[in-house]
Symmetry: none
Subunit: 298 residues, 2 copies
């Protein structure tokens, strides 16, 4: 079996297609790295890229991509609904096959060191790669966003792990880490009132007393004139997707609001789909080996 | 996305293990074909084999297997409880992923032509591959069995689609076809009253005015002292599994009965799992290509 690492960098451009293509091309052009998916969101003004490959190829592709990000994005002009701390905003490495979490932490460190030194960007290691407990949570690291980092970085607690101790005005800062597979999952409401989405987000997420592996916020999707609960399920094996979905439906009822749909952004592990079917169809003794297609992987 | 076809040949030997192994080995030895399951029944004197692979590999494996069947089985000595028309009795090709029914019909035709010419066997195409309406139903095609075909084949209506117009005394005849995947699916009730299960079965099935691709009956599961609606979903793409499940729940309420669980017997195509998650989570624009593991096939 091949050694495979997944990398899901997020960068702060979701409107200019030409720029997005230049950046994504850096992955396409790196041998051994396979671009799986990328999508841009205009209201977030942000793009998410997913690629896999050998640890070496993924590392190389990520540095190549970073170069294009810093060439083409200027944070001094950036506006978007999604929190962000830099042109290259967040870079997680995820072990998929034949690779340990420890190896992904080493990759995060090497890529962080390179980006810090080569592009003069303050780098914060997060989640499993965090240098201390206080940096494990991405939201905590990103708090204050690009604009706030000019002050935050002066705090001794927020000395970067790599790179300069000064925000790069054009490129901002970046969070680089290692983690288990994450599901980016949005739930759409039949209201344009973003405050309702935000209230729901606040009670379903871990931070607000909600589900342990849920991060969420309310956003307005302008082109559909619709409020959305934008969610990250950071460990679907422990906080199942259907549980998040049902909890949002339940909370929405309190405002007389309905869920009109949901969407997975980027990729989803098959286990999250299986657990959904198992729950709703009340499967007894279901084994993934009963699924025809999984047998070809043996 | 990988292209996957399933093939479930039935052959007329269920007692001599050495012969069964020789025949099954032909599948094992074909590169790109993967043997999923095989089982022999002594009283039926018959074996069922399940394998999957690319269309090309499945076609090759099936011809290789046919060669071993005709070398090792002599219908002149065959006795068994299950209806059969030949040494190789019935060969369905089933589209699983990235393959159309039309392609499976083409495979059935090519394999039929090869078996007809190479092994001198009369070949009848059935179900979706049938050359006319009267040959769609397998039971109708097989009627008369091996012994009866010496007369039946003289009828102009029963001229074979491929091969000679004379029964091969050693090998008999064979039915080769294409069909959609079938799901054996049981739904368990919190009652021991099998009459309630039977009433539900009668209204949800096609025969009783229910769902087009559902066959169902009520059965008693003695060891759990429980009534069960035992179901075959013969085309899950048109009659979705979740629709059957929800309809059973709805009908059960009329008797104050609840569904306590459900179970898939044997194999299930991944598409049936995906459609379940799509329905309950109200996915918008979901693509199976978003499922990480499916990308490994590319």
């Amino acid at each position: 079996m091949a050694r495979l690492v997944e990398c899901i960098p997020n960068f702060s451009e979701g409107r200019n297609k030409e720029v997005v293509e230049k950046i994504v091309d850096a992955v396409r052009k790196t041998e051994g790295a396979k671009l799986l998916d990328y999508s841009s969101d205009a209201s977030h003004n942000r793009s998410v890229v997913t690629f896999i490959g050998t640890p070496e190829a993924v590392e190389e592709a990520m540095v190549n991509m970073a170069e294009k990000v810093y060439e083409n994005i200027d944070m001094r002009n950036h506006k978007g609904e999604h929190p962000r701390m830099g042109a290259l905003d967040v870079v997680p490495f995820v072990p998929i096959t034949g690779v340990t979490m420890e190896e992904c932490i080493e990759i995060a460190n090497r890529v962080g060191k390179t980006i810090g030194e080569k592009f003069n960007i303050p780098v914060y290691l997060y989640e499993k790669a965090a240098s201390n407990k206080g940096r494990e949570n991405l939201a905590t690291v990103r708090k204050g966003q690009y604009e706030g980092f000019f002050e935050k970085i002066k705090d001794a607690d927020w000395k970067p792990d790599y790179g300069p101790c000064e925000v790069n005005e054009k490129g901002g800062c970046v969070a680089i880490g290692a983690r288990v597979p994450l599901i980016a999952y949005n739930i759409n409401l039949d209201t344009d009132n973003v405050e309702i989405a935000d209230k729901i987000a606040k009670v379903i997420r871990h931070l607000g007393g909600g589900l342990r592996y849920v991060k969420a916020l309310g956003v307005k999707i302008e082109d559909r004139n619709m409020a959305q609960v934008s969610i990250n399920v950071v460990d679907y094996q422990k906080t199942a997707l259907y549980r998040v979905f049902e909890m949002v439906k339940m909370e929405a009822r309190r405002y007389g609001v309905n869920v009109i749909g949901s969407e997975v952004i980027g990729l989803i592990p098959m286990g999250a789909i299986f657990q959904t079917a198992e729950y709703y169809l009340q499967f007894e003794n279901f084994s993934t080996e009963q699924v025809l297609e999984t047998r070809i992987w043996e």
